[in-house]
Symmetry: C2
Subunit: 329 residues, 2 copies
């Protein structure tokens, strides 16, 4: 890894949660409306201060239902007024309803590449997640974001018992340096112990955050943030601020502990065993421990736009809905 290349300021790493950009309950279906809004918000956030400039569409490929691919090029002769310089972001997305069926049907995450079904599932999973990656790259490109799909498998990410064993970040750094926005994703990868496994978008985010040291990290999800119990529970309380100490321990700062009764805390623990809430906070806490603010917020809302723009760094408005996880000495 060329460490020197990593010495450039990355403004933000964004996770597009699978549940936020795909339709959870429908196989391989993109939530087009959300994806379009998320892409537009990303462009606004990356392009601060020059929002009056026109953008040049960068997806010139055929689309279902769109007959003329050159329409996005209509005014491209007058290049000077176009903005193609964006602040440095890295996008990582989850799989949502892509890849999940293929991975769970074959057990790719458990390894065993010598089994025909696992090997087939590995190939099938990669086809599904790279299909989603291509669609997200295209959606961003249509907004004029110079996005470049970078599959972790192809970029040399491997694991050892599911922990990142190698990840050549020089390619990501080079893309950023050239003015592109790398778009990575949860992927099926080779594991030197298990043969293969699934590398999740969240683990990728943490690894990137550790090495690229962005100013802040945003998780776009399908709910307003982290709750004290499943958000479908009518009594669920949104945890607005979580503090992480030097040992990586986290505690709820807002709402105040007094307002969260003991029964609630038990519910948190119970929820954890089903794998979810606390696992997510733990990953975010590891990033926050580096001194990097983490915002978990509902995608395609006014709240997510504020988070993406970095407006929350110094002051969090009372009416902002979401969870902030930050380091406190």
């Amino acid at each position: 890894m060329e460490e020197t290349n990593l010495n450039q300021t990355i403004r933000c790493i964004v996770k597009l949660g699978g549940a936020a950009i795909t339709c959870k309950n429908e196989l391989e279906k993109i939530n087009e409306e959300n994806l379009e809004t998320v892409s537009s918000q990303l462009r606004q956030a990356m392009n601060l201060g020059s929002c009056s400039n026109k953008v040049i569409g960068m997806d010139w490929s055929k689309r279902d239902g769109v007959s003329d691919i050159s329409s996005s090029l209509a005014d491209s002769d007058d290049q000077c007024q176009f903005t193609v310089d964006f602040s440095r972001f890295v996008v990582v997305h989850g799989a949502g309803s892509f890849g999940h069926f293929q991975a769970s049907k074959s057990g790719v995450h458990k390894g065993g590449l010598n089994q025909p079904l696992v090997k087939a599932g590995f190939v099938a999973t990669r086809i599904s997640v790279t299909t989603l990656n291509l669609e997200i790259v295209r959606a961003l490109a249509r907004e004029g974001i110079p996005s470049i799909g970078m599959s972790p498998y192809s970029c040399g990410w491997t694991t050892s018992e599911r922990n990142v064993a190698s990840a050549d970040l020089s390619g990501v750094a080079k893309a950023i340096h050239s003015g592109f926005i790398p778009v990575l994703h949860g992927d099926a990868v080779l594991d030197d112990r298990l043969g293969c496994t699934i590398l999740s978008g969240d683990v990728i985010i943490r690894h990137l955050a550790e090495h690229l040291r962005p100013e802040y990290v945003v998780f776009l999800t399908d709910v307003s943030g982290v709750y004290d119990r499943p958000p479908t529970d009518p009594n669920a309380v949104l945890l607005r601020e979580i503090a992480v100490d030097e040992d990586g321990k986290w505690s709820v700062v807002k709402p105040t502990p007094q307002s969260l009764n003991k029964q609630v805390e038990i519910t948190v623990a119970a929820h954890d065993t089903t794998g979810g809430m606390v696992t997510k906070i733990s990953e975010a806490a590891l990033i926050a421990k580096l001194g990097i603010d983490v915002y978990i917020v509902k995608a395609a809302t006014s709240h997510s736009l504020k988070a993406l723009k970095g407006e929350l760094r110094h002051n969090i408005p009372d009416d902002w809905l979401g969870t902030v996880i930050r380091f406190s000495r």
Copy 2:
């Protein structure tokens, strides 16, 4: 690059010519029939000696017009009878009617990433060629070939004034070692002098051949091989065998030089200046000079199947249609 990983016998590197697998005159249109036949022939060639075994389909994603994605999994419970072990091939494909419009409209091959149109064209070109790559990976996977798309850009290929400057082949070697068939393609890449350029599939093939030393190389095209003048000319003669000497000079062995009159030789030269024939032979000659037989043959024919299977290595039947380029001391 871990050179040790490259010490494995690669049987064949195949180039799927853009003209053979796409419809040349229709933007971003795949020649489905040819691609299906090519994929089937590749499976037969990779799977010598166990052709009676069933294959397991590896594309489990949704397809237009196919409602049930799990149909390819119908019998997958009985895994033992499935063949997923293939001899070592690497597939490289051209762009054909994908990428060409985007690249030529923006001049990506000439570089200049700081120009908005070039930057947009770089993104648009990559979207188009990776769309084709995904479709080819899917077609191969449907035939049960454990194919893995590996974009040269993502894999760290860069150029210096259009010559390969860096190409980390350890990822390709690792994929092969794990029993996968890497599928690379002509791509837009970063160039350390020009900013960016187009890296052609033919240059990728030559670089791979030099480092992976396959037993033979097959170019699948839309004509029967190399002719002495444009194959659309009714007097065009198929050059059946070309010998390459130690200096890289090539000469036609079959048909015998006597049967090719002087006027024909002039036509070859004239054709060259328009960029095509001799350039193609030159690339192939550089591979042949390594002692690796090169077969240029029409895709999806009985002749291409023979070439892919390696049947021509010791004896070329008189009725075989195609061009052999080989080293002669």
